[in-house]
Structures are given as structure tokens and as C-alpha cells.
Symmetry: D3
Subunit: 332 residues, 6 copies
């Protein structure tokens, strides 16, 4: 994964996406002529994987005065503890006060997604996990969701935008819609094979019209060695994909000598269900995970001022002065 | 709330935010010369309040051929049952197949937020609820989050973008940062009063440096009749805001004859906690709700084809043919 | 259901199936010349449906002296409360003391089965339930098990012996073995239709090789109006039979105009699962219930002496004298 | 325990105890002239102790053609895992298809009883356990129940038939009925001692009329050194037998120098309650266990065809071909 | 129950039993010359029955200046809500400040006992309850414990001191010690009958040496019409007293025509167990309750100042000014 | 802690605090001329710390005949097991039979308090615990409660009487009442400092009127080096004392260089809450524990006769004869 390029949008820079009271605060301070060097610290409400820091740094680099700024941070993708300070900004308050909403929001949302992805990836114990969650979030964040999933360890993602941010190729098989429009799984798979460039793996979705085991053998016969995988996505109405189904499809493919055809599983997967497949000994070659990642709760971040013009200060309930954290690195 | 204006973004129209396999499907169908009139239905995974439909309709209006389209839908803000069909599209499949990701994503995310907002509003039994959740989501969706919260019944929201979408004025008080930079709650409140236009309500945040009851009396003395409210946002380290605290502040304000000063409560509120305040008889005049709304799980939507060129069809596990739903209205 | 005929076996009459200590007791009493008129009462450990009484009465009629016996009992199939006396025997003790084991055992085992059957039947709310449990009990009791299930309300049973005891025709479809030996569901169904007498309903088992919905249509096409039902018995490895599967098979049969073909469900059914089908609105026409009935715990019965030669007596913990129960009827 | 002799009954051989659909299957196959060499495997639904295999082998030996049969099996009394294949039959299908019901039924019922007995025996940690369960099952299976209990490790059983099958002497004390008919525990015990042959142990039941400790001393005084044991069977109405009661009776017997009189406990015992006695340090010399064994759920067995005429086959959900199990031994 | 007479002890009046800081407070205020009219309110931590108020009033009457005091209170034995003000004292602070410890302590301890007694009495639904708890508390409070139990509704108590405070006769039967020293229950009961004055009811304790039912008949035969009751106090080692035991003793007494002998039950009784007896239909004529009452948690009381020299005041967390409670009556 | 001096009160010696039936027993035995040497044993119902034994020995020394007594006991403050014999008395029964109520009561109540104190002290891991429970018990036992708490390991107690019994100085800070009467925390603290002797530690209660952190700094500034501690007793209405509050007060005191001022915490403390403070790393210097100790359930004691005139005896359910316990020491 190469370093992503984030460009702050006009809506963020203008404060349009911010809470109104920060704009008012800046206005009041300007009237009062107050612009102290203030130190703000951001910490998370619970443990997880930090994500969004690259986008945050792009924003800070754009707004903080180059000659009067000190920023310490953890890296994108590092683990963080609950209430650990992951970002410290020391700069004139008016330069960055307006962005408290955006700073917290980027880290909260991205860290939530990356942490969930990491849990699914950990459960899969080395078997590739692909992020399929774009369809459950607003398209404005479909790309950053998939980027976060890749930071969290996913081997691929289905959205074009997410793959672009992460610097990889998008991954995917075929939708049920293609098969339904063409009326038959074998026909759809043959057409896919005919028109797609050779580097796109041939993965056939085999639960649309017939029994999965029967359909797997039909598409294997139709494509021969060009068939890369079958995907099992059996709906809940038919009992979801079970470990026994994967084992049976594997045996039936093997009995017909299709040993190289891989089996890819999707549909309502989460770490518990992935673990069930692995502990049941099901020979899964890849998992597609959707809403477990996309529906992850954001990890709420809080921003606190701890020093104003060099003097320790804090609101009630917080400890005045800089919070020591040797893991932080000076990044600006 | 006036009718919002949504304009599909270039990223959505180009398929950049879509799952890659839909682009491939369209390409295969073009090669095969297949573009049947297909009927797609979208239903939700659980009950809730439908939101995002206005944005969805803007997108469909842009991409479906005007002379060959039929669209039925529920209205923005209507209640929906689990698995109820809320949108039916009948049009040439190639015109809209690419947008399945975006259609599901918009409805999933917005309905999740609106449903959570509605729960908080229901718990508040008529007392206004303001959405304060922008700081926990990516700024790209801060506006649409707050828009969804307003659809869900919130009386206001703090983000400028959300208020613009919903056609209202943004709401907000003052952040702890203003008080910490100015060093004293009374000083900050007086400055706020001095520089803000008269239509902005004077709401003072009273838990920063001193006991909330003491500080409430100090700001009331400083602003007199111009003080609209005090906001209690006591952090967990100091035991959060309790019903007893609200009652005591009310009595102490009343004993000093500040009967008109209202009390606004925020900090980790959810329906259970709002209910606790009301059932304890705490005289709260407004609630600020953040992560309960912003962290709401999206309500996953699924899109299924049920007819192709007039013939009932469905994948295994689904019922072939149109799903009757008399609540649907023809919208295009 | 006509009145069954039970003939006490030689093993019971000889005391071979009894606890050894009863034989010893009779021997001691003979040596001592003691043969008082003793009154014994039997009561159950928990509430349920009484079954086995007909067999018990056949035994008592054979062993009690005709001129010196009084027997009161509830009827076969009546409800009984926990600890309710269901049988009272007043006769010379030596004539029946040896049979305490058999009397308790018959009532315990049969009442356990009948009570479980009644629960399944109650859950089915009028939809016929067939007992399929013979395969989980020792063949020596397969018949009496199915007899008890019929007493409990089942509409039929699969064992020949049980049907004979209950005076009805045995019920059944076809086993997976027939289809596997013949290699195809349609072929097996056609052969069944060819050789079975016309009064045997044509019920095809449709989950053996192909998707159930597809197979249902294939057998319907093959047999036409002669097809009575399809049976769904999907194994756990394929997610068991679900309510949605039943609904979908119904719709697909109806779309092909096979409205008269009924749907019969089996496989791990119990009252909870039967209720699930009914509350989900699944159009089931019959249920096959096996181990819920056959594995039912016996309802333990206890026998106590309460009078000896007209004097109230009882062991510690029991109440001396006859236990009044107006529901008992004099039967001998 | 010597090797039992089982003779298949006429009811089993004729198919009377079978499910009707197996008779029909054989009839159809005869009409079709189909009698392939088929391989059937039986596996259990849960782990436990295998029992009934001796009876099963007697049946198979009778029905399978001597020159065309291969049978592999685990031994009577071996432990088995859930879903482990315990029996594999390879023979012409028509020769054994009719007996699927009986094969499964024998193994299910007997294994259920033996497994429960083994649990009680394990809990007793070397202290003898006697099966007293005959009175809770139908007399037709009283013998095979007690046989299974002996296979499960019980040191004795009370039914004459069970003892005969297991090749041992039946065990037992005296019933409450004897004492009630004779009117006094001492009188009944003296009579027992007078008429029973010397090899029958003198065990007196001491909870019928007086306090157990008082009665124990009375019978010990009456019989002197000939008294083998007292049995405590206190009913629930008097608080059941407790560990403290056993200890107290032991001390009071010892204080009167009856050190050799043993204490036998019965009444609602199960592994949990046996463990309670042992962990409380109660000096119990023997346990009588009834309904925990007799009411054990059968362990359901399933029979599947896996090969027909040498070709791997299986119904959906099962794996085609022979299931390897190195523990199986060729027995025919 | 006549009005009790409480006399404040020297230890209370001197402040010896008080928390040291109250003595110091009075000393400081004297040095400072501060003795304002202060209003103190006492409220309980949870709902229950108020007890101890008579003793509190005796104390206040002794220490408050007759010409400058106002006291409002609820009555002894009234129900009180959680946090309800039950006592309000308006007087010069120096006159009563030292007694805050004693005031809270008396009400806390007595209300705890009375509330538990009331729960036992309520469970007994009109059947008399006798307090037997003196043996589980320090003798210095044995009397006030039993007094509180009588306030709570008990019909009697066993301690001489408690009966004296409550103005009734003490109640009791005989201890196991008497029977053990005399060696036989009948002998002890006959001696009791011989030496006790006629007004003491003859209640025989029947579980010491023999079975309770047998012993009940023996003492009934010995005393004839003079026997008032038998008491069942079976220890846990023998299964405690059960409802079935009570029923059986009743029937056996009635069969022998001792219809007038009552049955009294004791031993580990609490409301749940009393309810068990009543709902089981056990014919109990009286309950003896010990540690459920004596071990009751004190109901903690808190004392707060709400006015000083006529001005509303309160510590943080409390509401300044008099707390309205129309149930309070002026008592001084 | 020096050896306490206990003097039996007249109420105890006269039998006034005893159960009436013991007085009657003594009267009957006198009439019968029975006064055997009887051995009584006392054991507890559950494990804990033994307390009250010193007072018990004072009583026995007074009543038992010097020339005919043997007493074995565990020491004050020793651990005891459930049902362990802690006291054995061998003497003429008439000399001590009357005191069974008092003996059990003293040990029950005191052991309950001491055991609870020990639990709190254990949780505090070396940080001093002060008993503040006098206000929740009747003043007649306030002293013996605090004595028991000291036996249980508390470093101090607030009642004058308890400290006297334990031979230490009473401990305490100042009540809210002092501050409310004086109107300001600083004024009250300065007065306390002015009038109290120098050996009394200056501990200021800082939650009455202002924020605890602010008030702590104010009193520290007022008293300087003479301030020993601040006490945090924040009421539940303000969220109780939290670990974060302690940490923050510590940092704010340290930032102002008041490193030597200690922090004392009170208010609803129990072992769980003490553990919470320690595991959260809160720098607490002392804990004040009230109702956890004062509301502790008494540990019920039972007294049984085990020998009469040298012969083993016991009531049903108990073991006749002396119960061996090598931990007992001969004390008389």
C-alpha cells in the first residue's frame, strides 16, 4: 500500500462541515485580539487501530503556520489504548480551532472502520479478507471506508474509490443481478470470461438458481482451468453458507478433479462467523466482509486544551499540562 | 424544514464510488447486447425511519431515461418495517445497474442516523433535542448526518452544512476551548454576548472551572435577562450530569430569581439516559445528543431483481415477481 | 382409534421383568401366611397426559382375583396433575405385589411419549402431525411408542406395529435410501407411483440431490395431478428447512399452477420449531415429528400402600389412608 | 459379564416394527429389479458410550447373505464421538434395507442408557452403583435397559431379565411395601433374614416408620452380625437423604459398635447428587440409581448410504464415499 | 402495645457514643460564639417502616430548650419512602448538634429491624409471627430489637427485655437443651407441664430425638388436652421443616383425634420460606422468625442542615431550604 | 491495641436480655434437681473473623463455678471456618444455661462487624481505613461496633466509646454541619485550626460549597503547612467521589506545591469500591468506611450440647460427643 494523497476539501477548509460554535469562537477571539499558543491533545474513547491520521496531517499542514507549529502524532495503522493521546498540536489557537470537528470526525470514523477490519482479518488467520462494505455507507465515504479497511489489513476492496486511495486494484466477482439478467449462472460466467481482461480472476457466484454444489460443478465444467473460484453467498432464507456446505462443495469439486478451483465465502460474515468456519475446518480460500466493517461504531475522539501560552490548564475533570506519551513522534 | 436540494456528485455518476463488479456487469451486458426492462426492489434489514430517499430520487431522476421509467417509493421520513420494500425501479437495467451501491449506501447510512435521532426525540417527549454528532463522523458526511437527524425529529443541529441541507439555522453554544483560552467562564460569556448578533441565543457552558451551580449563578449575575440558558456538560470524571444536579441548579437559580434561565444538558446522552432525566423529574429544557445518533449502525438495504422483461424471476431464497406494498407511491 | 387389545406377555406374568425384591417379598409373605387386603395408589411425578392405562388394566384383569378386587382409574388419554392419584387397587396383596415394576413402567413410559406428542400436536394448531420416532427407540417398544403418540393426538405414525395397535393405517413417504439407490428423485418418484396401490398418497422427498424448489417442480411435472405432496427434510448441513424455504417452494409451485401439491415438513421438529413455522406464516400442510416424541423423558410413577386390612397406614412422608380423587372411576 | 445372547424377534424380522416406507422401498426395488451392493454408515448425534452393537450384530448375521457381506463396527461399550461412524454395512441393499429402523433404534436407546449409567458410575469414583430403573420403562425393555446399565459400568441391577442378559445375579433390598404389610421394620427385616437363602445380603430399608438413625440401631440390634447394610431412601417430603444424615447414621452405628454395617443410599440420585455426597465426605457404601439411567434421552443414530455399486454417492449435505474411521474393525 | 418509656442513657447524653467530630464542632462554635437557630432534616436511604422515633423524641425532649424548639416528625411505625424527610428539628444548633450520631443510629437500626419484621408478618397473612432473634445480636440491643419487631407487627418476642419495652408478656417454648439434659422429649414436656404456671402455653419441641410425627403423637398422649402446640424446628441436616412434614404431622395428629394441638414452625424462616409454607397449603399455626429480623441491614439515615438563622442553605448536592412534607406532624 | 476490659451488665446477669425459655428451663431443672455437668459447643454459620470472645470470657468467668469448669476457645481476632467450634464450655448446666442467648449474640454481632472490617482493610492493601459506622447503629452498640472494627484491622474509629474500648484515640475530621453553620469551608477550617489542640490532625472537608479541586487549593492556601489532609465526600447527586477526581485534586495540589497535603476519601465505600480506587491508581491516603461495616450481617452462632455427665449425646442432625478441634485452647 503506497502513501495516500489527501487533499482537504473546500467544505472543510471553509468551516462548512464544522460545528457552528467553533466559527463563533474564532470570531470572538479575533474581536478580543486573543490568539495564544495553545496545546490541544486528542485521545480516543476506546482502544483500537488508529486511522485517518494521514488525512489529518494533510489538513494540519495546510492550516497551521509553518513557522509556529509543533505536531506530535502516532502513525496511521498503529494500535492505540483507550484514552491514549494520539495527536498533540501546539500552535496559535486561531489557526486550527475551527477544525476541531473535522479532526475528531476523521479519526473517529476511520479508526472505527480500520479497527473492525483488523478484527475480521485477525479472525481469518491469514486467509485473505476483502472489504465489501461500500454498499452500506453513504457514497461520499465509500472510498475512505475501503481505504480504512485496507489500513486495517484487508487484502482488497470492491469500491473503485477505495482502491484508488489505497493504491491497489479493486476486487470483485459478479453480482446476482448479472446472473438474473442473463438467466443462467453458466451463461453469465461464460460471458464474464469472454469479455473481461485476462488479469481479472474468473470467480463465479454459484447460489443464484440451483444447488450450490451442482452449480459449482456446472461452471467448472464450462470454464475448465480458467475458473479461479466459486463464491458461496447463500441467503439466510436457505440457511446461509455453512461450514458443511463448504466442505461438501470442496469434496464434490475434488471428486471431479477440480482441485484448483478456490472457494470464496461471503454473506453476513463477522469475526465470530469467520472463526466458526475455521474451527469447523471448512476449506475457505477467501472471505468477503461487508457490514461488520461498514457498520462499525466510530471510535469517538475528544480534543482538550492542556496548555495556553505555556501555562498548564484544563477543564474540570482533566489533568492540567501536557500528557506524557513516549510513543508520540514529532511530525511537524 | 423545506425540501432539500441534492445534486449527484461526479464521483457517484462516474461509478467511482461503486463496487467494481457493477461496472463490469454493465460492460458485459453491452457486449452481449442485453438491456432488458428490469424491476429492482430495495428493502431494509430492520425496521426504522426511512431517510435518504430525496437524495436517491435526485440520482434516479438524473440517470433513468425519462420516457421509460417507473419508480415507486415511500416518502422521506416515513416509518418502514423490516424487509419492507421502500423503493421499486422499473427501467432498462443498463441505465441504473451501476448505481446499486450508491442507492443502498445512501438509504442505509441516512436511515440509520434518522432512526437513532427519532429514538432520542421520542425519549425526550417534546423537549427539544439538538444533534451534536458532527464531530464523530468523517466531515464528508457531517452535513448529511445532521440533515438525517433533522428528518428524524431533531429541533436543530450544530453543523453549518447540515443546517444548510435542512434549511434551518445551525444551533450551538460555546466550546470549552473558548472558556479555557479566555481563562474564565464569566469573561467568555460576556465576550460572547458582546460580539454575537442578537438573534444568537446566549447559552453559557458552566462546568469548565467551577462547580456548576456556583458558575450558573455567576453568569446569570453577569448577563442578567440576556442569558438564555446554561449548559451542563459535566464530564464522567466528575460523575456526568445527574438529575439531582439539574434539580439543584434549577432551585439555586430560582432562589436567586433567575426563573427564565433555561437548563440545557449534554454529554453521552442516549434514549435510556434521557428517560432517566425525565423520570427523575429533572427540569431539563433541552438535550444535546451526539454519538448516539452519529454512531448509529447503518440500516443495511438489499436490492433484488424481481422481474426481467415482464417475467417473474428471483434468486434462490427470494420470491419471484413484484412484492405487493400498497404504501408505495409512484414518484416518477 | 378403536380400543386396542393388549395381552400380558409371559415375561411380565412370570415376574421376569420385575425388580427381584418383589418376588422376594411375595415369598416372605407366603412363608409368614400374610396376604392382607391392601390398597395401593399410583401417582405421577409431573403433570401430563395419562397413557398405558389400557395395557395396565389388561394386566390387572388377568392377575387380580375376580371376586375380591376393586380398581379405580382415570381413562387412557386423560390429563393428569402432578402427584395426582391415577390408579387405586384394592385386592389381596399377594395377587399383585409382584407387578409394581410393570405397572409403574408401563404408565411412565407411555405417558412420557403421549405427553410429548400432545405438546407437538398442540403447537401445530390443527395441522396434522405424524409420528416418525420409531427409529430412535428399541424395536421392542416401537409399536407402543407410536400407539402412545396416537393417543397423544398424532394423526398417523410410520411403524407398522404402532398403526396396528392404534387400529389405523401406517403413514410414510419414501426414504432417502430409495432415491439414492435409484439415482434420481424423479425416477424414484415415478417408480413409487407405478408400483404402490392407489390408496397410498404420492409424497415425494425433494431434498436429496438438487435444490428443493427446483426438484419440487421436476416431480410435479413428472406426476401431474397424482402428486399429493412434496416433503422437505433439508439437513442441518444445508441450514435445515426454513419458513422462507416453505414459502418460496409454495410460490414457485403456484406460479407453475401446482396449487394442489401439499408441502410436508420434517427434520428435528419440536413444539418451538413448529411454532416458528406457524408464526412465520409458512404454508405447511403436515409435520413429521420424530425424536421430540421418542426421546421424551418417562413420567415417573410411584406406587404407595395407603391401607392394609382397612386401616390407614403410610410410610413416613406420605399421608395415611385413601387419597380422595373424585375423577377416579371404578373400572373393576 | 459374559457375552450376551440376542435372538432377533419375529416382529423385527418381519418388518412389523419398521417404518412402513422401508417395506415399500424394498417392494419397489424388487419390481424394478434393483438390488445393488450398497454401503450404509451409521453415526450418532452426540458423543457417548456405544451400546446395542451385540444385538445389532445378531440381527445382521441373520439377514445378510453370508457370501456377500462386509461389516465393520466398534465394540459394545466403546466410547464414540459425536458423528463418528460406528457401523458400516456393505451388502445387497434388499437384504438389509428393511432393518434401518431397528438398527438405529437399538443403538439409540441402548447407547442412551449406557451413557447415562457411565456418568453415574464415573461420579461414584469406585463406589458401586446399582441400576434401579426398571420401574420407569415399559417392561418390554426393562431387561435391555438393565443390560445397558451393566455395560455402562453398574455393579448390579434389580430386574431379573436384565441380570439374565448380563449374566449376573439380580440385586435388591426390600421394598417399602413389605415393611408396610408387616407393620414394622424390625419384623420385616427378621422375616427377610429367616426365609432368604444365605447368599442374599441382608439389607434393611430404614426410613419407613421411624427416624432413620433410630431404626438403623434397632435393626442392627435385631440381626447382629448378619446385617449387611441399611438403605436410606428418605423421601423428598422429609428432605431426601442428606450427606449429614449419612454421617450421623454412621457415627451412631459406630458408637454402638456396628462398624461393619454398610450404608446404601437411593432416591433421586444423579451424578450431581452423587458428587455432592462424595464431596461432603459422606461415608456411602453403595448408590442405587433409577430414573437418571432409565430416563436418559436416546442418542439418535442416523443411517446414510455412501456408495452404490462401488460409486461414491450421498444426499445433499453429506460427503460422498466411504467415511474413513481407523477405529472400525471388520466383524463379518 | 402500650407506649414505651425510653430514658436517654448517660453514655448518649455525654456524647460518649457520638462521633468525636461533633464534640469538636460544638467546642469550636462555642469559642466562636456561634449558636444559630438551625434546621436539620433526617431522611432514610430506602423505603421501609419507621421505628425508633419514640426513643428519639425522648432524647430531643431532654436536650432541646423548651422555649426555643420546633420538632416535626412521622409516627413510630409509619411507612416511609426512600429519601422522605421523617424528622425536622429547628432549635439552637449547640443544643442538639452533638446528638446527630445517636439520632441517625437509633432510627437506622430500629427501622431496619421493624421493616424486616413487617415483611415477615406480611408474608404470614395473619398467622402469628414471634420474634426469636435475640440470640443473634449483642445483648445491649436484644431488647430494642424485639421492641422493633413488635412495632413491625410481630405477635410476640422471646426476650424478657423486649417484651418489657413493648409492654407484653415474653413468648417461648422450650430449648433443645432442656430435652437433652432430661434425656427424653416426653419427660421434658411432662416436667414443663408440672412446674410452669397455668397461663404459660404448653408447647413441646418434637424434633430432638425421634421422628417428628412419632414424637408429636407421644407428647400428645402424655399431656392430653393440656398440650397447646408442637414446635417443628428440624435442622438442615435432616432437610429442614417442609410443608409436607407439617401436613403429615397434622393428619397423624388428627387421625389420633388431637385436632386441637397446634403446629408451630421455626428454623431459618424468611418471607420467601413463609410464603412457601402458605402456598403449599401447610396448616401452620405460628411462625418463629429469628435472623431474618435480627440480621436486617440498618436503613441508613442522613441528617442535613437546610436553614441557618432563617436563610435557606444546603451543601452541594442537596436542595437549600425546608423540604416540604405534609405528612410531618409538629410533635414539640 | 491493649486488652479491653468488659464488665457484664446487670441486664445480662439477671437474664433480662435472655430468651424467656432459658429462665424456664433453669427453673424446671431446679425443681427436678437436675444439674449435670454438660458440655456445650458454639459454632458459627459461616467463615469469618471471630470477635466478642473477650466479652464472652468476662461473662463466663463471672458465672461459672471456679472449681468446676473447663473452657476452651479460639482467640479474639482469629479466623474461623464455617461450622468450626470456637468455644467449648464444660460445667454444671444450671450455672450457664441462662446465658446461651447472650453468648451467641455477642459472638454473632461482633464477628459480623469484625469480618466486614477485615474485608475493607484487606481491600485497602495497607492504606489506613477508619471506621465511620457509629451513625448507623443504635448508640448502645456504637462502642462495641467500633471496637470490633478495630479488631478487624481498622486504624481508627470515630466514636469516643469505641476508641475507649479499643484503647486508642478517636479519629475524625469535621462534619458538613460545621461548615454550613459557619458558612464557608475556609472559615470553618481556620476556626478548627485555631481552637483544636495541636495533636489533632487538620483535615478539611472540601465538597460542601465549591468544586472540590478549587476548595482544596483554597484551604491549602489558608492553612499552609499545618493542613494535614483534605477529605473528599462528594454526594451521589454529584456523582460520588471518583478515581479521576482524586487524581485531579492530587495534580492540582502538586502544581501549587502542596505535595504534603494528603487526600482522604469517604462516602459509600465498600471493598469493591476501595478496589476500584486502587486499581484505577487513585492516590488515596486514607479511607473512611461506614455502613459496609455497621450494616454487616451478624454471623449467626449456634450452641449445642454434646455431652451430659460424660455421655455423648446430641439432638437429631448433630454428631454426639465432643467435636475435635486442635485449634481450641484451654482458657479457664
Amino acid at each position: 500500500m503506497k502513501k495516500p494523497e489527501f487533499e482537504p476539501s473546500q467544505e472543510v477548509l471553509s468551516g462548512e462541515t464544522a460545528d457552528i460554535y467553533f466559527a463563533r469562537t474564532i470570531e470572538i477571539l479575533r474581536h478580543e485580539g486573543l490568539n495564544p499558543i495553545a496545546t490541544m491533545e486528542l485521545f480516543s474513547s476506546r482502544a483500537g487501530m488508529l486511522c485517518g491520521m494521514e488525512e489529518v496531517k494533510s489538513l494540519l499542514d495546510r492550516v497551521l503556520p509553518k513557522d509556529c507549529r509543533e505536531v506530535w502524532a502516532l502513525d496511521e495503522g498503529q494500535s492505540m489504548d483507550a484514552r491514549e493521546v494520539v495527536l498533540r498540536i501546539k500552535a496559535p489557537y486561531q489557526s486550527y480551532g475551527l477544525y476541531e470537528t473535522a479532526l475528531c470526525g476523521i479519526l473517529s470514523h476511520c479508526s472505527g472502520w480500520a479497527t473492525a477490519a483488523r478484527e475480521a482479518v485477525a479472525a481469518a488467520r491469514g486467509i485473505p479478507v476483502i472489504s465489501f462494505g461500500a454498499r452500506h455507507v453513504h457514497p461520499s465515504v465509500a472510498g475512505i471506508l475501503d481505504y480504512s479497511a485496507i489500513v486495517g489489513g484487508c487484502a482488497g476492496c470492491s469500491s473503485v474509490a477505495g482502491a484508488a486511495l489505497a493504491g491497489i486494484e479493486p476486487a470483485g466477482t459478479m453480482p446476482h443481478a448479472l446472473i438474473i439478467v442473463m438467466g443462467d449462472t453458466v451463461r453469465a460466467t461464460v460471458a464474464f470470461d469472454k469479455y473481461m481482461p485476462p488479469e481479472v480472476p474468473r470467480v463465479s457466484l454459484v447460489d443464484t438458481f440451483k444447488d450450490e454444489a451442482e452449480e459449482s460443478l456446472r461452471v467448472a465444467e464450462a470454464l475448465g482451468a480458467r475458473l479461479n473460484s466459486v463464491r458461496l453467498d447463500t441467503p439466510g432464507e436457505r440457511g446461509r453458507v455453512t461450514a458443511d456446505l463448504v466442505k461438501e462443495v470442496r469434496v464434490r469439486l475434488d471428486l471431479a478433479s477440480y482441485h484448483k478451483v478456490k472457494i470464496f465465502v461471503s454473506g453476513g460474515l463477522d469475526p465470530e462467523r469467520i472463526t466458526y468456519f475455521l474451527e469447523s475446518g471448512a476449506p475457505v480460500d477467501g472471505f468477503g466482509v461487508g457490514s461488520y466493517i461498514s457498520s462499525a461504531r466510530p471510535i469517538d475522539f475528544t480534543a482538550d486544551l492542556h496548555e495556553v501560552d505555556g501555562k498548564p490548564i484544563a477543564k474540570r475533570g482533566r489533568i492540567p499540562g501536557i500528557t506524557p506519551n513516549p510513543r508520540l513522534k514529532r511530525v511537524m
